[in-house]
Symmetry: none
Subunit: 239 residues, 2 copies
């Protein structure tokens, strides 16, 4: 209403601590969830009880040109720029600030003690159901990912417990038939007619299979009856 003096137009003014935290929170949740947070979500994150205070500060942020708001629209805000880095592309569209290389690992079945490991066939690169794909950052698998012959299995049963692997865990495997000492592998043992996960050590004509659980004793088997099904790259457990 009343403009006493020549008030500075929308100026980038210095942001308060609160506003900075809000901005960061928006940025983080946006990249994580794919959509902006609500006023109340922001409030909870930044420790503000009153929605109106959040609203107030959001308006400040808009005046300073950091965000843009859509009236009456739930989650109706977009990031225009972030704190230090200007580069939030034009219409708030771009996500991850750093491009993360993601590996798409198909879930091809279950691993049980009583059967050999299911291995994807030649149709590997072909189709697999999209809901059965795990997206994993490459760095989680290390650079040991070879030729795209990586797949995942859901563990069924409690039989892998000596590998510290639980029922329902996910084992990420690299398809291969040989192994180096120290590799963790999925092997099929003729003698016991079972699949098991063990650390692999070649010792002459024998193979020492060492459980991950150091409490447990290794087993020694004839190298000829050890059939390597794949090398274990990672184990995931969602609680």
């Amino acid at each position: 209403m009343s403009e006493p003096k020549s008030r500075r137009r929308r100026q980038p003014q210095k942001l308060s601590e609160r506003q900075k935290k809000i901005l960061q929170y928006i940025e983080r949740t946006y990249t994580e969830t794919g959509y902006p947070p609500t006023i109340r979500e922001i409030g909870k994150a930044v420790d503000i009880d009153s929605t109106s205070v959040v609203n107030y500060n959001l308006n400040k942020l808009e005046e300073s040109g950091y965000i843009q708001r859509e009236k009456k629209v739930s989650r109706g805000l977009r990031l225009l720029k972030t704190l230090n880095s200007e580069p939030f592309t034009e219409l708030g569209v771009k996500l991850a600030d750093d491009t993360i290389n993601v590996v798409n690992v198909p879930m091809v079945g279950k691993i049980v003690a009583s059967a050999p490991v299911p291995v994807p066939g030649d149709d590997f690169g072909m189709y697999y159901d999209d809901d059965d794909v795990i997206h994993l950052p490459v760095n989680l698998l290390g650079s040991r990912v070879k030729d795209g012959e990586v797949y995942a299995l859901r563990v069924n049963g409690e039989s892998m417990i000596d590998a510290l692997v639980n029922h329902n865990d996910i084992v990420v495997l690299q398809r291969q038939e040989t192994a180096n000492n120290g590799d963790m592998v999925a092997v099929w043992l003729d003698e016991n007619s079972e699949t098991t996960l063990k650390y692999f050590y070649r010792e002459g004509a024998k193979v020492r299979l060492q459980p991950a659980n150091t409490m447990m004793e290794p087993i020694y088997v004839d190298a000829r009856q050890v059939h390597i099904q794949g090398r274990v790259l990672a184990v995931l457990r969602q609680i």
Copy 2:
């Protein structure tokens, strides 16, 4: 029961015209506005009067792996892939450049039996060194990520073996001081002066702490001497 041979997984399914239009509309508005549309907005755009029909088709799209939805959240959906850009076509390991929503989880320290869990301070959402951050796809943590108060710890020592957690494993935690029955939590026990990972069950004035390893017996402790340090969301092991 009455499925003789159709072992086809749930839904390879081609999308209906409607679903394609919906998908395109989501993509368009998302890039335009920076946030996803509501059910009613979609309905109006695709000429569907009933919100439940839109809802129905959104669920179909989720089943087919095109989108991901967050229950009860306005605009709570994110695009996983679009119509023409079939991200997952090639080899199993294909660097996906499609946008996957990634949670940046800071590695804040080590978890050992002999000390309480390190918890990040109030500067949580702030900056952390890039090399100490794990990038995890949201869907790996489920949507149980609450407030972004998620952090990771590297396990030190073999003391968590009854939780089937090994030395050097990574435990992803959500900061919280309470738990529901069945949650896996990191707790500090006064009596033993140690941190341990267990499934949590409240039983009157006592708490039953159940090891993940079903071979092992639960322990019962007075509720007052149980201090929950966080809820375990996932365990990762790189071999």
